[in-house]
């Protein structure tokens, strides 16, 4: 029993969609503050280019590819949901979640390698940022994957199909954050 309030749309878009855009806005400033701080530190510390040289570009590129592909599946799920095909949407969401799991596994391998080679969060402030920024992003990946599982479970039964688009928008946002993290941590050396 949803309140009547939820079904109104005086602003010209469904309530859920509106709320997701506001969530994205609040996330932009969280990552904006973090990356802004990183950029300012990076520009004032020349030696960080040397630290950044130790990050593994191949792994970073693979992870970007994984996230871009998972985003593709998320948008395909949205397309299927719009046609009312809940089963297909759920399947595509499963692929997206598989992408999230792959991303986290690769990340785990990468971190394991780096930590075992003496590059930990306390090594210096570059590595502190490296682990903090990727860690907060990783937490968003985990949260998104869990929510996606819940959405997929309903979608498979043909319920709440509008949610497929909502979790998709969140997922694309997480993707965009990584699109900026990738050059900041891996490319600019």
């Amino acid at each position: 029993m949803r309140p009547i309030a939820t079904t109104r749309s005086a602003a010209g878009m469904p309530t859920g969609l509106l709320a997701v855009w506001w969530i994205v806005a609040s996330e932009i400033v969280i990552f904006g503050g973090l990356l802004g701080a990183y950029i300012m530190y990076r520009l004032s510390h020349d030696a960080w280019a040397g630290h950044a040289a130790n990050t593994n570009t191949l792994i970073g590129t693979t992870n970007t590819l994984v996230l871009l592909t998972s985003s593709l599946f998320a948008v395909l799920a949205h397309q299927a949901a719009e046609k009312g095909d809940g089963k297909k949407a759920a399947r595509f969401l499963m692929y997206t979640m598989a992408g999230a799991v792959a991303f986290l596994c690769i990340k785990g391998y990468e971190w394991n390698y780096e930590i075992s080679h003496g590059m930990t969060i306390t090594t210096n402030t570059f590595w502190s940022f490296y682990y903090t920024a990727a860690g907060i992003h990783g937490a968003h990946v985990i949260a998104g994957a869990i929510i996606m599982g819940i959405v997929a479970k309903d979608a498979a039964k043909g319920l709440e199909l509008q949610r497929v688009e909502l979790i998709g928008i969140y997922w694309h946002f997480v993707d965009i954050v990584w699109i900026f993290l990738f050059p900041l941590l891996y490319i600019a050396k």
Binding site: G32, A37, M40, L72
Partner: protein, 123 residues
């Protein structure tokens, strides 16, 4: 939303994104610093734009959504503009930031772990 253009080929957009990714990875190989900046961050902006418009369909949402996102970004730049001159500063009349943590680090990329062992020994 996207019934306006039902034939959006998402796979094609994904392929464009992958090509852009390849360019941004290849960019630094040329070792021209300004080109690296362009390929790294310029392409990140392009990719973000493509994802926001083609995947998130921000251009099909009411205009205020775009304005909201841009406003958030502008405020972040405002934040950086207001604080950068202080963060960049490393010394003043009665103080300076001790830089022991990185000044012994060779500024050039080093792929062996020797750099880190050496640096770890310095503090």
């Amino acid at each position: 939303m996207s019934e306006d253009e039902p034939h959006t080929n998402y796979v094609k957009i994904w392929a464009i994104l992958v090509v852009l990714l390849a360019v941004s990875v290849a960019g630094p190989e040329l070792e021209i610093w300004w080109l690296t900046l362009v390929t790294a961050f310029g392409i990140a902006l392009v990719k973000a734009y493509v994802v926001a418009t083609k995947f998130m369909h921000i251009d099909h949402a009411p205009k205020f959504v775009t304005y909201l996102m841009v406003t958030c970004l502008v405020f972040m730049m405002l934040f950086m503009a207001g604080s950068a001159s202080d963060v960049f500063k490393s010394s003043g009349d009665n103080w300076y930031k001790i830089e022991s943590d990185w000044q012994y680090m060779p500024p050039v990329a080093q792929h062996d772990e020797g750099a880190h062992a050496e640096e770890a020994g310095n503090h």
